[in-house]
Symmetry: C2
């Protein structure tokens, strides 16, 4: 089946620096962050606007890709569970999925609401949220 | 920033074979499909169960990664728009995002509701949908 190469289109700029203390999900109290796009993809980002509801896909570069089962939310009282049934960052292809809203746009820098990724996390893709939240 | 390697965890088995005639989104009348996982990730998939609401992330391997702007939904009357504001499969990192429900599980094969990816599309990741649809 082969493999495919992800070339990040930008990175996250965030006050979060420590994965261990970062919120597990945006609704757990994550701070706002900036998405900083690379100049090469300026044309792809040019129509992002304040108020847009977006899916941000990140590459969780500090994840352990060999992990197949985890205790959900790191709680050892919960039974070991296959990672495809959890949102653990540790998984074979550690793509993070984050729903955010755009609050400011400054050239290649796009400010978004609560994002639980740590500073420097590579951004893989950005997509609009469709009707029905998909 | 470097690049990262995606190693597919499985593939889509679908009656859809032609991207040009495939529905643009699952709600546009896509058929059910199977997710066929690789044996190496069996432990990651073992807790998937009928009724689960899932995000399926795919690698849209037929996409054109050089495209930065498109006419949305292929309609030339719509103005050229940066791909991060569209769900075009043609984009720098062509990761597809699909919301599905599990309707059957047969070992490494998981049947899901409406999925708009063509037969053979590599599967990157599978995650549960969280409360609030995230």
């Amino acid at each position: 089946m082969g493999s495919y190469e992800i070339r990040p289109v930008g990175h996250v700029e965030s006050p979060l620096t420590d994965r261990a203390t970062a919120p597990k999900q945006g609704c757990d109290g994550a701070p706002p962050a900036w998405l900083v796009f690379r100049p090469e993809v300026a044309d792809a980002a040019r129509d992002l606007a304040v108020g847009d509801d977006l899916w941000v896909l990140t590459w969780l570069h500090r994840a352990d890709r060999t992990v197949l089962r985890v205790h959900p939310r790191g709680d050892p009282r919960r039974p070991l569970t296959g990672v495809f049934s959890t949102r653990s960052p540790d998984r074979p292809n550690p793509v993070g999925l984050h729903r955010v809203q755009v609050t400011a746009v400054d050239g290649l820098r796009v400010r978004v609401s609560a994002l639980e990724a740590v500073d420097g996390t590579p951004v893989v893709d950005v997509k609009p949220v469709l009707d029905g939240g998909r």
